[in-house]
Amino acid sequence: MIELVSAERCIACDKCITVCPTNVFDRGTDGIPVISRHDDCQTCFHCEANCPVDALFVSPRTSPEPEGAMAKDADLLTDGGLLGSYRERLGWGKGRAPAPSLAIGPPLRPGADPITS
């Protein structure tokens, strides 16, 4: 679930509010998105992937993280190389190659086409 919106990093572009398929966010009075409907988060990672400044973090767990969890701590996530890691893997952002262009996985059977998605 979405666990972190870093007010320090956020540039109030509203992108996450716009792209969230389940309308989890509202815009706060200061422009920073507020997680208003946490229960509706489907853990699809789109808000994080679309954040141009890596201000968001989605925990892979479909239940809320406890207070003090790493998923809520921008510094710990940065140190662990996790903040912004999905966007980077997708190849989104300046100077990055789109992930599909590199997506040659192993074939599941000898002679079969490689898995590419």
């Binding site: 853990t43 699809c44 767990r61 590419t116």
Partner: protein, 525 residues
């Protein structure tokens, strides 16, 4: 606030692959198109969050025959060769179009040629949104449809819904409607699937349309326990273990019933220890999202055991859906078309999962055909298209028989209790399905009387109604198929019965009916 009133030649409900291909083709055919997505067109749905293989087979007759043969038996011989051939043709065209005109960054193989057999979801749908906008389609994001409109003859004449972010009702009077709302995964949190609550099937049934193949609705995806990541291809490299550390024999990425049985007793663990070093690095490139769960939980899936679970994917990965009656994906109701996972995929998959490549091919193909078909139908109406008297068709969850004091959350929990557990929906037995269906019928009776609302609440109550309807069509059909065919396995009828080699149609709301398809499925060759 006043209702937003719009007109269109074609109205498309949904915003995933089928919806965007439908909108694109309707617009190319000269239609004015409005597309309304429950979420955001570009991130909504099962494909955008995940990614998918594509049933992309070059037009070499032997390769095409082999592709069609490969699912013939698995699907219980319920697929239709003619449809499979036309889907292969259309998919080949559409994927090539993506590669050439839309410049999708497909990877390049060692022979210098692009590999076009897969699509990363986030990139694919982001580009589809751009194509649709460029074609002049008006997109309504965060605008779930709540009901269809019909003219006095019963022909579908538009749709109504609610804009969640604009907090405003909307109504679109249209010449024709394409339902591309996805399948139904019962809010199971399968990756990207919580917008897929089967709404389109409910709308279709209220308009008088029929469904087909609803017994093929018990797909479950493997995910690391407690997560949403239901990407399953790489479990091909897995060994599965019981809690005591012993190997769970017979379980594999595709053979999941031993996993389901063991999960009823205790935990099941997994390790991707059959992947060699070279494969491991390549897997990360092929599916960046598969590794999200592991990287973020600090697990090395190749060397460490991790607990797994199975998550219901209902008719998203199953094949049942709205019945199609013509080559342009019309339903039995004039002016109403269906595409993608909202429609039955039995025509190309039979009763076996359409997960991955087949559903993706079907979405592109059926979407393109439905969009064109809807545009032509709308044109045939001339000036009447936008000027018909319309009636609103929504009933369950919108206009209750009594006081609207029901709680949609309780209704949804009651539905989930009957459809999510493995011992009810996956390991199916008549003795279990019968009482489950009775409970669901009670849920339906209750919600018909007491569930309703306006605005945001109506979105939730309609989702509850759609899931209840879906569950009842599923179990009624599952009980009618007294044999094992495709994914519709029955513990009490473990053998295939040659006398039941027919599709099952279903429909109805207050009274659910099931009947075998009258025309015999054509022989395989």
């Amino acid at each position: 606030m006043e209702t937003l009133e719009l007109t269109a030649d074609v109205f498309v409900a949904g915003g995933g692959p089928a919806a965007t291909w439908a909108a694109l083709h309707a617009a190319r055919d000269g239609a004015e198109v409005v597309l309304a997505d429950k979420g955001y067109c570009g991130t909504s749905g099962a494909t955008a969050a995940a990614g998918t293989g594509v049933w992309y087979v070059p037009p070499d007759p032997a390769a095409r025959e082999a592709a069609m043969d490969s699912r013939e038996e698995l699907g219980g011989r319920l697929a239709d060769r003619r449809w499979a051939a036309r889907v292969l043709d259309e998919t080949y065209e559409r994927v090539n179009e993506l590669a050439v005109s839309a410049r999708f960054p497909f990877p390049v193989g060692p022979d210098g040629r692009q590999l076009r057999n897969g699509l990363h979801g986030p990139e694919y749908l982001r580009r589809m949104r751009a194509l649709v906008r460029r074609a002049g389609v008006r997109i309504l994001d965060h605008s779930p449809v709540t009901e269809l409109l019909a003219d006095p003859s019963g022909a579908v004449a538009g749709a109504a819904g609610y804009q969640r972010q604009g907090r405003q009702d909307y109504r679109v009077r249209a010449g024709a409607v394409v339902l591309a709302t996805g399948g139904c995964a019962f809010l199971s949190k399968a990756l990207g699937c919580d917008v897929n609550t089967g709404d389109g099937a409910l709308f279709a049934a209220e308009a008088g349309a029929e469904l087909s193949g609803m017994e093929f609705s018990n797909a479950y995806g493997i995910a690391p326990e407690g997560t949403s990541v239901t990407k399953t291809a790489f479990y091909h490299f897995a060994t599965f273990f019981r809690a005591d550390g012993s190997v769970l024999e017979g379980a594999s990425g595709v053979r999941r019933s031993p996993i389901a049985r063991e999960l009823l007793r205790g935990k099941v663990y997994c390790r991707l220890d059959r992947a060699d070093e070279q494969s491991r690095a390549a897997m990360r490139l092929a599916q960046p999202n598969f590794f999200l769960a592991f990287d973020r939980m600090g697990v090395d899936p190749f060397t460490e055991k991790f607990p797994i679970t199975l998550i219901a994917e209902g008719t998203v990965r199953g094949t049942g859906g709205i019945r199609i009656v013509s080559d342009d994906c019309a339903t039995t109701v004039p002016g109403l078309y269906a595409a993608g996972d909202a429609a039955t995929r039995e025509l190309i998959c039979g009763g076996f999962t359409g997960g991955g490549s087949h559903n993706a091919a079907w979405a592109m193909s059926s979407g393109s055909w439905a969009g064109r078909g809807a545009a032509r139908y709308a044109r045939s109406l001339g000036s009447r298209a936008h000027n018909r008297r319309t009636l609103a068709l929504g009933e369950a969850g919108l206009r209750p028989g009594g006081r609207a004091d029901g709680d949609h959350r309780e209704v949804i929990a009651a539905i989930q209790r009957e459809v999510l557990p493995y011992d009810k929906n996956y390991l199916r037995h008549g003795n279990v399905l019968t009482p489950a269906l009775a409970s669901l019928d009670d849920v339906w009776t209750g919600l018909r009387a007491s569930l309703g609302g306006t605005g945001e609440l109506s979105v939730r109550t309609r989702q509850a109604a759609a899931m209840a309807a879906h569950a009842r069509w599923m179990y009624r059909s599952a009980l009618a198929r007294t044999e094992t065919r495709g994914m519709a396995k029955r513990l009490d009828f473990p053998a295939q019965d040659p006398g039941q080699r027919h599709r099952l149609h279903t429909g109805g709301l207050d009274t659910v009916w099931v009947r075998p398809e009258r025309t015999v499925v054509e022989a395989a060759s």
